[in-house]
Symmetry: C2
Subunit: 333 residues, 2 copies
């Protein structure tokens, strides 16, 4: 690989040879319903806790992606996965019976881009086959980060709705189809936002930084991409992203920017306030809808930039700001 | 890199060009006191919470390692770091002002081996300089995983004492000194242990699996190493490790096995029950005492195998078993 500024240019393309995005009931009632590889109407996915339900979703997405790629689990060198739960419980319990070498990641909602980016570098380095994956679940996240579900706390307009869903992609050095050609590992950015009900505002500066760094390093402009796709900035964060890139970096993100958190729900009808969030938001939308659009020829060059808010319930209670990060992956059909 | 079984053989050695291990007061009263790069007698490290104290330790270790390597922060392509706290808060707040591309990892107490292993692969792949790091803090861990400190809960003989400390190593493709030549990303292993006060028993099977897989893949035996060093199995886990490798795998771990959790404290005098634990245990011991022994010519070939118990407070309260993992890194002087 070659390093240009903060951007990694891969020596040869890394291929996405299999991918799957799965989702829960509410997501299955949204605009992307027909593109998900599976929709689970049972919020518990038949498990004894919401946390284990999240693990079941993630395991399901991984199995579907591996199956679609045509490889077997014994061909997989590493699985790279992480999630939002304390100590990444979602991933540990999803992977524990799959018998694969596991690289645990933590990037909060940026995890799909982090796992694809790190995974693509490992394939560039000689790994034959890796799986990049992530998940989130509304019920496990809500009680982890905010309030018990039963409490029925009111949500401000800036709040986002954690997606119940998971995404997984199989990466290999050879194949055909979608290619990863470049990537960027993000730098933690913290402008002092402390409101855990306004993740979009906390994460937008990190997205602006990574997107503009990537454009500079590759000497490209927004119109060179069919789509610049953020993970889960939602309505509030997306608006801020456009303002920051224009005012701070003099880059105008035109209509080719979209956000998975605004694509996955009907914001007018589904009562999700500012839109979707969670690792599973970018994960499920990228690995189903977007990759299917690319395979159908409707999108060619997609810059996927997933953002993560690196706060914990403890750091929020202690009044700390919310450090954020955004990782980027360039996908081409 | 070449893949043999589960083991990665690097094409050319990756060099540890700087390293530092820092520790707290209790660790500074133990047998390794003179080898730590810094000892912080103030448990809060001047911060407003134990969590931010942990971040301060980690940041200190990273700055020392980078300084010793002679590189500047702008030369660092990636820092790879993780810790035990919810949402890896320790790492996020340590790194947020350092302005480096950050790969967040989660491997619980295995993180020092995971960050070295993933980092070494990235250097093998073309990164010029990466930092691998991790931390833990007795006070932040105790209230995260067990009880509020003020509660004064009794500790069973199998319990371990979370190390207050951090370790960091700078890895580069060129240099002299300690070399990483091979590594193994572990596979999650779960034999059904549910007792969060017996981490050693939960993690020993993962260590046995990774050590024996590594020996098989490299066609070596324990006596080929000056030291097989586990991260934090403690007394209970180390005894179990010897039993499992002998009974299950027919491999006798001779006296050249040591455990950082037993090296860092005087088990007879320091009232730590089964020994030290935490990401900072393997991290601080490896990056100070062990690497200094290697540089002095007292140790040549060291197989570092750090184990992680991938449970969360939630998974333990729900009665789930403790999935565990062990990653390995082969270091040569």
């Amino acid at each position: 690989m070659k390093i240009k500024g903060k951007t990694i240019l891969l020596d040869k393309p890394v291929y996405v040879t299999g991918h799957a995005g799965v989702a829960g009931k509410k997501e299955g009632e949204g605009p992307l319903a027909q593109d998900f590889d599976a929709i689970f109407d049972d919020t518990t996915v038949g498990q004894q806790s919401y946390e284990l339900a999240e693990s079941a979703l993630l395991k399901d997405a991984i199995i579907r992606a591996v199956s679609k790629s045509g490889v077997s689990f014994s061909d997989v060198n590493f699985v790279l996965s992480g999630d939002l739960l304390d100590q990444c419980m979602g991933s540990a319990f999803a992977l524990k019976d799959l018998n694969i070498s596991s690289i645990g990641l933590f990037g909060a909602c940026s995890t799909m881009a982090l796992s694809l980016a790190n995974g693509a570098m490992l394939v560039d380095c000689g790994a034959e086959c890796v799986v990049a994956a992530t998940s989130s679940h509304f019920c496990s996240s809500e009680r982890q980060f905010r309030f018990p579900l039963e409490y029925g706390g009111q949500r401000p307009p800036t709040a986002q709705w954690t997606v119940t869903g998971a995404g997984a992609s199989v990466l290999q050095g050879q194949g055909d189809g979608i290619k990863i050609k470049a990537l960027q590992i993000g730098t933690i950015t913290d402008l002092g936002i402390t409101d855990a009900n306004n993740m979009g505002a906390a994460m937008a500066p990190a997205a602006a930084r990574t997107i503009t760094d990537f454009l500079n390093d590759t000497d490209t402009k927004p119109s060179d991409y069919d789509l610049i796709l953020t993970g889960d900035l939602g309505f509030t964060g997306s608006k801020l992203l456009h303002e920051i890139t224009e005012l701070e970096y003099n880059v105008k993100l035109d209509k080719n920017h979209k956000d998975c958190g605004m694509l996955i729900y009907d914001l007018k009808k589904q009562d999700v306030n500012s839109g979707g969030s969670g690792c599973g938001c970018g994960g499920s939308v990228l690995c189903s809808h977007i990759m299917k659009q690319m395979e159908k020829g409707k999108l060619n060059k997609v810059l996927f930039v997933a953002t993560g808010a690196l706060m914990s319930p403890t750091s929020s209670k202690q009044g700390n700001s919310i450090p954020s990060i955004a990782h980027a992956v360039l996908l081409e059909a």
